[in-house]
């Protein structure tokens, strides 16, 4: 049930932000001098912002950016974090000590400073930026996965696999990894909103998405600033953002249940 609702919400939101722009002739950058902070009506479906730009098209285009960014950064953090944490936890001892101290070192680096450095070296590149966010967020994932790996490793079925002469790669792949799915999925659904928030924070500082491009995070923070003049400028992006996040959370929960063999009835 959760899985279905989550899947439907995520699919509907994705379809809306990617197909929706076809239905309007407005341009996201055009400033309508006569219609600043216009409430929603038949012409501007979501109203306009204080600069007189159409919010419908801006919300949808911003959604494209937010969704892509969320998925990209989350995948990067999940892939690096799971592999890193699993290897550290499984091999233990010196390998674990060195790998986890390295994580501590990364934690100690100031994130913002890193981002600024990146921008200085490589210029304003959105994709690079969000890969960088992913590369920062994997630290938590690695720690969580390492802890879980230690717990799974101690289970007799892992020892049974060793006793039958199974090699370590296959033990990691077949016995450890599938038993990490729960925690990885739950954590990944928490990372997506985190990424979207970090993105809006960076945009606010002028490091993330730059005008005239936009994202839900940027729209929400803009809307919040001008709440007295145009409350709809906050409402629509916030609503889209909330529905999408609810969708991802349900999807994560649903997938966890779906992959849990004890929920399958014969």
């Amino acid at each position: 049930m959760k899985l279905k609702i989550g899947l439907i919400l995520v699919m509907v939101m994705t379809a809306t932000v990617f197909i929706g722009p076809q239905f309007t002739d407005f341009d996201p950058e055009t400033i309508h001098w006569d219609d600043m902070a216009q409430a929603p009506d038949g012409v501007y479906w979501f109203g306009t912002d204080v600069m007189g730009r159409d919010l419908y098209i801006r919300t949808l285009l911003g959604g494209q950016v937010s969704l892509l960014v969320g998925l990209l950064a989350t995948s990067v953090s999940v892939i690096i974090g799971v592999l890193y944490g699993m290897i550290a936890g499984f091999y233990g001892g010196g390998v674990d000590a060195v790998m986890m101290r390295l994580v501590d070192v990364f934690y100690a680096l100031p994130f913002l400073f890193l981002v600024i450095l990146l921008l200085v070296f490589f210029g304003q590149n959105m994709w690079l930026l969000f890969t960088a966010i992913g590369c920062y967020l994997w630290l938590d994932m690695a720690r969580i996965v390492r802890g879980q790996t230690l717990a799974v490793k101690a289970q007799p079925f892992v020892e049974a696999a060793k006793a039958m002469g199974q090699n370590n790669h296959i033990i990691l792949w077949r016995h450890i990894l599938p038993n990490l799915i729960n925690i990885v999925l739950v954590y990944a659904t928490l990372v997506i909103p985190q990424v979207i928030m970090i993105e809006s924070f960076l945009s606010f500082l002028g490091l993330g998405i730059q005008e005239p491009m936009t994202s839900w995070g940027a729209l929400v923070s803009e809307g919040a600033d001008n709440i007295e003049m145009a409350v709809w400028a906050l409402c629509f992006p916030a609503l889209f953002l909330a529905v999408t996040l609810v969708g991802f959370n349900l999807l994560g929960d649903g997938l966890r249940d779906y992959w849990d063999p004890s929920n399958k009835h014969q």
């Binding site: 079925f157 020892e159 006793a163 002469g165 016995h175 038993n179 992959w259 063999p261």
Partner: protein, 572 residues
């Protein structure tokens, strides 16, 4: 209030409890009648899932609702129906008039509070006394339940106490308010045999001192032989027999009770195969009579002339205890400390001892799953520790292990077909997939399971069935030697008997050699040809099973044998 109520403390009338699950209604307790008089001890016996614990929880009003629902019946305690009492009044009865001792002393205490505080909390909850008085009473109680140095121990945290001491603390908590009824839910199942005996003696003493009634829940009839005045046998949610204890042991009427009594291995005159409940009753519940042949005594042949398969020489496994900033090794825990023995082909060597004696470490070291500190293990003339990883992996197909916990030893995310096939993929990669499936189907039939179930996941099976799956996995590559590490300890006695029989059949069929590790002396006596008794990392006595049990030489062996619960006829 009429006369009858004066004599009966607790009266359960036609109690039915239903659980609503996704799979439909499950009748957990079906029309149960049970009454307890003041000062009386009732033993409630049955296998797991028979509704014993649910009955106990309904007395305390602790059935989670939903999914549980009490569909009918009354539970009258001192003239009041507990099922109709409001929660507030129930809370005054719980812990005060009726209290409970749980199975797991390890998890039933809160790890972040001192044990004294936890006992005092119960007192402060039910009696209007000051903190100081409560603490004084706590120390008295701890002394009463036989905890040495109660003053100091009351300030200890749960992890600083041993398992037996924790269970004593649980009992102190339960009797703190001098209850009229004490419910004990498998209080000794998680304990070693010597500690089990001490706890049973303590409960018996407390019952006399306080003149309280006791409802003692267990799956093992042997435990309550000394303790209970009357035994109630539950089977598939129903009460099938109620009789005075002595009568149950001599003239059990219901076939299920007969089966329960027969399936427990004894210290002498065991049959060749243990009789199980299935020998006394068919699936539909009709009584069967086992043939005289099934009662023929077991004969153990002398296997000392057989070829030596495994030779363990002065084996030592030490664990370092590290301390300080740089992890300097402070001292060593000598888990296995200079052990030597031989195992002959086709023989079963039993290893017994209490938890922490090093028997599990010994088994794991022999299989090279744990690094040995010194000594050698020669398997079929080959030094196991001198193998390179590739040869070791090949060698593993000849030596296997079956673990204790049937729940944790199967990967929950693999179907049982995949689980049993895994060793085949490793050791016979040249065979086709179809050949592997054929072999898996053959194996699953051999352990009395249905090949149609190969696509199911482990959680769909009961504990006994899972242990069979573990056995099938161990057998897949036709090993000659299997270490059974407490392989039947987590199972109910009736299921335990089936698994023991299966192990014996497989040994007869394939000439397997076993090392059988267990804390249960009667089980080891049944299955083993020779027995080694372990204490603190050393084998203190090693002899044929018959000799060990008839004529124990070492004082430690004598102590262990003495601690076996009565109700099983003793030979000395």
């Amino acid at each position: 209030m009429n006369d009858l109520n004066d004599k009966i403390l607790l009266d359960i009338k036609t109690l039915s409890v239903i659980f609503n699950t996704d799979a439909g209604h499950v009748q957990a307790v079906d029309q149960l009648d049970l009454s307890i008089k003041p000062g009386q001890t009732i033993g409630l016996v049955g296998e797991s899932g028979s509704g014993k614990t649910v009955t106990a929880l309904s007395i305390l009003g602790l059935i989670p609702q939903p999914p549980g629902r009490i569909s009918s019946g009354e539970i009258i305690f001192e003239g009041k129906d507990l099922l109709l009492l409001p929660e507030k009044q129930l809370r005054q009865i719980r812990g005060n008039d009726i209290s409970m001792v749980f199975q797991e002393p390890m998890t039933s205490l809160n790890p972040v509070f001192r044990v004294g505080y936890q006992i005092a909390e119960v007192l402060r909850l039910h009696k209007k006394i000051s903190k100081k008085q409560a603490w004084r009473r706590t120390v008295e109680l701890m002394d009463w339940v036989g905890i040495p140095e109660p003053q100091r121990r009351s300030r200890a945290y749960p992890h600083e106490l041993s398992g037996g001491q924790k269970q004593r603390v649980m009992i102190a908590m339960a009797i703190a308010c001098e209850p009229k009824l004490l419910i004990c839910d498998e209080p000794t199942t998680a304990l070693d045999v010597t500690i089990q005996q001490q706890v049973l003696e303590l409960l018996q003493q407390l019952q006399k001192d306080l003149n309280m009634s006791m409802l003692f829940i267990t799956h093992d009839l042997g435990v309550i032989a000394d303790l209970a005045d009357e035994v109630v046998v539950m089977y598939r949610s129903q009460k099938v027999e109620q009789a005075p204890t002595s009568e149950i042991f001599t003239h059990a009427k219901h076939p299920y009770s007969k089966g329960l009594l027969a399936c427990r291995p004894k210290l002498h005159d065991n049959p060749r195969r243990l009789l199980t409940v299935a020998d006394f009753m068919d699936e539909a519940g009709h009584a069967l009579t086992p043939s005289a042949e099934q009662f023929l005594p077991q004969i153990k042949t002398n296997k000392s002339k057989h070829k030596t398969l495994l030779k363990v020489n002065d084996l030592k496994t030490y664990y370092p205890v590290k301390s300080g900033l740089f992890g300097r090794v402070k001292t060593w825990v000598k888990a296995v400390d200079g052990v030597s023995f031989d195992v002959k082909q086709g023989e079963t060597l039993g290893l017994v001892g209490e938890s922490g004696c090093g028997k599990t470490t010994l088994g794991r070291t022999i299989l090279n799953l744990q690094q040995a500190t010194s000594g050698t293990v020669k398997y079929d003339g080959v030094d196991v520790f001198a193998q390179n990883p590739k040869d070791m992996r090949r060698m593993r197909s000849r030596m296997q292990i079956i673990f204790q916990d049937p729940y944790a030893s199967l990967n929950p995310r693999m179907t049982i077909g995949q689980t049993i096939m895994e060793p085949l993929n490793i050791h016979r990669p040249q065979d086709s997939k179809a050949m592997h499936w054929e072999r898996v189907a053959e194996l699953i039939k051999q352990v009395d399971l249905n090949p149609d179930q190969l696509n199911r996941y482990p959680h769909e099976f009961s504990g006994g069935q899972r242990q069979r799956i573990s056995i099938a996995r161990a057998l897949a590559v036709e090993p000659e030697f299997i270490v059974c590490d407490e392989s039947v300890s987590a199972l109910d006695v009736s299921v335990q008997a089936q698994v023991l029989n299966l192990l014996l059949d497989l040994q007869a069929q394939y000439g397997l050699t076993y090392i059988f590790i267990s804390h249960d002396l009667s089980v080891v006596n049944f299955i083993a040809d020779r027995v080694g008794v372990m204490n603190q990392g050393k084998i203190v006595e090693l002899n044929t099973a018959t000799e060990i049990y008839r004529n124990p030489q070492n004082p430690y062996t004598q102590k262990l044998l003495h601690a076996i619960p009565k109700g099983v006829p003793k030979m000395v």
